[in-house]
Amino acid sequence: MSASTHSPVLKHHFEDLGQQHACERLGIWMFLATEILFFGGIFGAYTVYRLWYPHEFVFASSHLNRLFATINTVFLITSSLTITLAIRSAKLGDRAALIRYLLITAALATAFMVVKGFEYAEDFHEHLVPGPSFSHEIEKEAVDKGLDPGKVQLFLCFYYIMTGIHGIHIIVGIGCILWLVWEAWRGTIPPENYSTVEVVSLYWHLVDAIWLFLMPLLYLAGAGYGAHH
């Protein structure tokens, strides 16, 4: 019997740690595939309407706050780096560094949600919401430009649903990272079992990657809108 068979982190139904890690990795990749399809459905719907109503979408997009979004992009990209450093620390068995990098990642993710909160607050303040309380000024502006205010609201529906679902994913991610911190602190992430860190990091990279699609689709679509009109 090889030494790894007796490892305390080996679950009873696996033959050895190699098999256990292979299962975990394959499992997370499959899960990511389902996530991509989940977002794929909504991206597909967005694309259809974007092609049908290009002017309204560009106009609506120009009302979003690109500064907040840019700051958030920086936060997320940095967090992708720190979680990768966490994997490295786990592999090297450097527990202190592992915990440190995980905490930085969680902090960056929290910062993202805080900024997002400010952004939503501002949007609500400006009545940048679809439905009965939709801003009269924007509605008038749209009509003046010969655009259909209904379709401007349609864009906003997408904006809230897409960023909302993404936000929920961030919150889940924060939970997973804090759980890793707890496990690392208890000492159940020895170097030969760093694949749990890897699994969470893959999820986190996906959340990051989806933001990198949301950013241009939602915020940058209307960039330079003023310049052309």
Binding site: E15, L26, G27, F31, T34, Y49
Partner: protein, 586 residues
């Protein structure tokens, strides 16, 4: 071992031998309710699914009975029009999302995939029990929606009716379907990872039982299609809850988009419902005809073919919904394509039966029923996939009969076959052979009586989902309702003799059907960890011709052989001698 013997050995006076302790198996290892509710044993989880989906099947069946009874009269027998809408919606939602989709993957998949590939458990046991809880939470939402008044949109939930106009409990109902979708994804993911990574030594892809192949293909669909309906339902819920929307035409949204997204899942979902049944039938037909399956690779790959092609057909549900003529043409053509892998399967099963030595136990009778009913259902699918005929048949009882032929005549029958085939393995007891045969025949006859009249009604133009109809259709409706009570009786019988078998049934050995799969090499019911030692697989899954199981060991006498007096030599049971090998091989 040897130490224990010498220790007891010489001193022992003629003490009567102690009765052997009852073997520990997954059923008796512990008894508390918590040991079931917190179990991570895939076998127990399979039984949890068995219990819960049986309840949902009964609930769905009660609503079916309401609908059919109401249709006895041209003006509706006793339900208001509104109540009628709620009844058929409840029937559809319960049966589809809470019975058919989880039935075979949830019960037989959980229970038998690890046993069949020689693993100790599924790859993620905690995810597995979580999937059952998620399923139950979803069922609670939807069930609650039905209890407090029901949903009246039909199971397809088309907006803008479902998102705006409907006054019924769309929100909790949809929520339940949405949640149970995650359970479906979890089960699929678990099965796929297990099949990839946990096969016993020697269990190559080419030696996987066809049931495993079919569930692998099913899992692929569950994984790739369910997320799309999940996001669609999220959009629908937001639209309904917040009064804003993406499918709402009044702000430039498009209800047809919902149909695209919905059917992108729901067409593949019909294959989630039928592929597992095909897997069951492949196992049963070979076992009870004592022949190797004809064209193993063709059957295995046609499952994958169906899974892939199944993704390309969704818009054949929208031929009359306003898609472009060329799109309709394309989807019509692609729909024809899926008939190819389905037909491959039917031909291979038929060839397997050819010159086999067939015994007609309940699983076999049901599988033969499947063969006929699925073929009829699939062929009528081609009528619907043909543009011109679909315009005539769309949303008539012809469609109702079509999908009931595949889903009830196909999948429910296959599920029944699976229950009868594996019941002795799951419980260690055999049910009444005579009653099970009677029940099988009643099910098949009742099915024909119920649904053949519906083809005729539909062909003559009776629309589906209407509580009223012209007088001329009454006779056919009465026939159909009468048939449905025969069918109901057919379902009721196993509900009686199967539980009774738990107390009075004959105890069975490891391999009562003399089948070849690995699951038949462990005791019935299986021990907690499935196998004492990890099995080593040395041959393909259906070596009936040379009479060996997948570990290369001889098979016991098949059950039919006992009727033949020349075989009454008492050598039945798992340790019996090899089947008359020379005769078969020579």
């Amino acid at each position: 071992m040897s130490i224990a013997v010498t220790h007891r050995g010489p001193a022992a006076a003629p003490v009567p031998p102690e009765p052997a302790p009852a073997p520990v198996n997954y059923l008796n290892v512990s008894h508390t309710i918590w040991s079931w509710l917190f179990t991570v044993d895939h076998k127990r989880i399979g039984l949890l699914y068995l219990g819960s989906i049986s309840v949902f099947f009964v609930i769905g069946g009660i609503f079916a009975a309401l609908v059919r009874t109401n249709l006895l009269m041209p003006n509706g027998a006793f339900l208001s029009e509104d109540a009628y809408n709620r009844a058929f919606t409840a029937h559809g939602v319960m049966m589809l999302f809470f019975f058919l989709i989880p039935a075979v993957p949830g019960v037989m998949g959980n229970f038998f995939i690890p046993l069949m590939i020689g693993a100790k458990d599924l790859a993620f046991p905690k995810l597995n029990i979580a999937s059952w809880y998620v399923f139950m939470i979803g069922a609670t939402f939807s069930g609650w929606a039905v209890l407090v008044g029901g949903i009246d949109t039909g199971w397809t939930l088309y907006p803008p009716y479902s998102s705006r106009a409907s006054q019924s409990n769309v929100l909790p109902g949809v929520m339940g379907v949405f949640i149970s979708g995650f359970s479906s994804i979890m089960t699929g993911l678990n099965i796929m990872v297990t099949v990839h990574k946990m096969r016993a030594p020697g269990m190559t892809w080419g030696r996987l039982p066809l049931f495993v192949w079919s569930l692998y293909a099913t899992s692929l669909i569950q994984l790739l299609a369910t997320p799309v309906v999940a996001v669609t339902l999220v959009l629908l819920m937001v639209e309904r809850a917040a009064g804003i929307g993406i499918f709402d035409p009044s702000i430039g949204g498009d209800p047809i988009l919902f149909q695209h997204l919905f059917w992108f899942y729901s067409h593949p979902a019909v294959y989630i419902m039928i592929l597992p049944g095909m897997g069951v039938v492949s196992e049963v037909l070979t076992c009870f005809s004592r022949k190797n399956i004809f064209g193993y690779h063709a059957v295995a790959w046609s499952s994958m073919g169906i899974a892939v092609v199944g993704f390309l057909l969704w818009a054949h549900h929208m031929f009359v919904a306003g898609i472009s003529f060329y799109a309709a043409l394309l989807f019509s053509l692609l729909s024809m394509l899926v008939a190819v892998p389905s037909a491959i399967k039917v031909f291979n099963w038929t060839a397997t039966l050819y010159r086999g030595s067939i015994t007609f136990h309940a699983p076999m009778l049901l599988s033969l029923g499947f063969l006929v009913l699925f073929t009829v259902g699939g062929l009528t699918g081609l009528f619907l996939a043909t543009l011109g005929t679909d315009i005539h048949l769309h949303d008539t009882y012809f469609v109702v009969a079509h999908f009931h032929f595949v889903m009830v005549g196909g999948m429910v029958i296959a599920y029944m076959a699976a229950v009868h085939f594996w019941w002795p393995k799951m419980t260690g007891r055999m049910y009444s052979d005579w009653w099970s045969r009677v029940a099988s025949v009643i099910m098949i006859v009742g099915f024909f009586l119920t649904f053949v009249p519906q083809f005729i009604m539909g062909y003559h133009g009776m629309p589906r989902r209407y509580p009223n109809y012209p007088q001329e259709f009454q006779i056919l409706n009465v026939m159909s309702t009468a048939g449905s009570s025969v069918l109901g009786l057919g379902y009721l019988l196993p509900g009686i003799y199967l539980p009774l078998s738990l107390f009075f049934g004959k105890k069975v050995g490891a391999n009562p059907w003399s089948a070849t799969g690995l699951e038949w090499t462990t005791p019935s019911p299986p021990t907690v960890h499935n196998f004492e030692v990890t099995p080593i697989v040395v041959c393909g899954p259906y070596e009936y011709a040379i009479g060996v199981d997948q570990m290369g060991r001889g098979l016991p006498e098949p059950p039919g052989a006992q009727d033949d007096p020349s075989h009454r030599d008492g050598s039945t049971g798992p340790s019996g001698p090899m089947k008359k090998e020379t005769e078969v091989v020579g």
